[in-house]
Amino acid sequence: MIELVFLVCWTSLFLVTAFFIWKRITEHVKVYLILVLHLIFLGGIFYFYPIILSLIGKS
């Protein structure tokens, strides 16, 4: 259950941040910011998920 909560919260945070970057920034740099955001989002999933699994004793 806790892993589902993590995935939902992390994804929501990513979506909200991406939405604000895309809407608020008008310069082209937003594409690169979205790229970095994607890296943090997916990297975070694959980095933190096994940590959560080991914390709850599932790994």
């Binding site: 995935l7 082209h28 937003k30 594409v31 790229l35 890296l39 997916l42 096994p50 699994l53």
Partner: protein
């Protein structure tokens, strides 16, 4: 350059589905019939041979799941790249008339392939439900693995699309590379049947990291190997960055060349 809008991408995706299967009786169903036919062919040809080689689950039924877990994502991945490679040429009539964002043409292919992937996966899940399959929390990771896969496909597709405008052979070369890549990835066969030296080489294959992640979740009721996925995430983003920089530096030439 205009930035891609969600409504434009959705409109392109709708058109993509209606144009691809225009006039056919079964319509969009053809999008999932093709992967099912391939699945059936491989199952008939390799089922008995490979089913016995699956570690821990040696039967034809387990091989069917192993095959589907690798083949459905691969179809989506390969179709995204091959269709992206020629997208600027295919949509030349729109690009030359309207000042649209060129990457949105690739995004609509990604969306279109994602819908087909979802439909195929829904069928696989229905099949598993009829077999009293026990789902585990590893399944929660499927959308993220697929997202990573499609980001990689997007970056490779963008790279190929840019090159295809200037060198038309790149479209054909992409098809050849994808065919070789498919057989270099343990989707139809099991990694264990290969010599040790080739196995070590295959471990460096990004498609193997993805296929193995799906296979571990579906067949072995396990979690994917996280470290390779983390490395693949980094590689994908580096490649995406370079593809995009290449596209930006050649964007004006692409429009002039078309």
């Amino acid at each position: 350059m205009s930035t891609p809008s969600a409504s434009f991408i959705i409109e392109l995706t709708k058109r993509d589905f209606s144009e691809r299967f225009a006039g056919s009786v079964l319509g969009s169903l053809w999008a999932i019939i093709w992967p099912l036919v391939s699945l059936f062919i491989y199952l008939v040809i390799f089922g008995r041979l490979m089913g016995a080689r699956l570690p821990g689950a040696s039967d034809m039924h387990a091989y069917g799941i192993y095959l589907a877990a690798g083949l459905i994502p691969w179809t989506s991945f390969a179709n995204t790249i091959s269709r992206s490679a020629s997208v600027f040429l295919d949509k030349k009539h729109i690009i030359t008339k309207v000042n649209l964002s060129l990457p949105s043409l690739l995004l609509h292919i990604n969306l279109s392939e994602a819908i087909t992937f979802l439909l195929s996966m829904a069928l696989l899940f229905l099949f598993l439900l009829t077999r009293d399959y026990s789902f585990h929390t590893g399944f929660l990771l499927l959308p993220f693995i697929y997202y990573l896969q499609q980001l990689l496909a997007f970056s490779l597709g963008l790279f190929a699309a840019v090159l295809t405008v200037f060198v038309r052979d790149v479209r054909e070369i992409t098809g050849v590379i994808l065919q070789l890549w498919f057989w270099f990835t343990p989707i139809v066969y099991v990694l264990d049947i290969l010599p040790a030296a080739v196995q070590r080489l295959i471990l460096l294959n990004p498609a193997y990291i993805l296929a193995e992640a799906y296979q571990r979740i579906f067949v072995f009721s396990d979690f994917p190997a996280f470290r390779p996925l983390l490395i693949l995430t980094l590689i994908t983003h580096i490649f995406l960055f370079f593809s995009y920089v290449l596209f930006r530096s050649l964007e004006k030439d692409i429009r002039d060349f078309l």
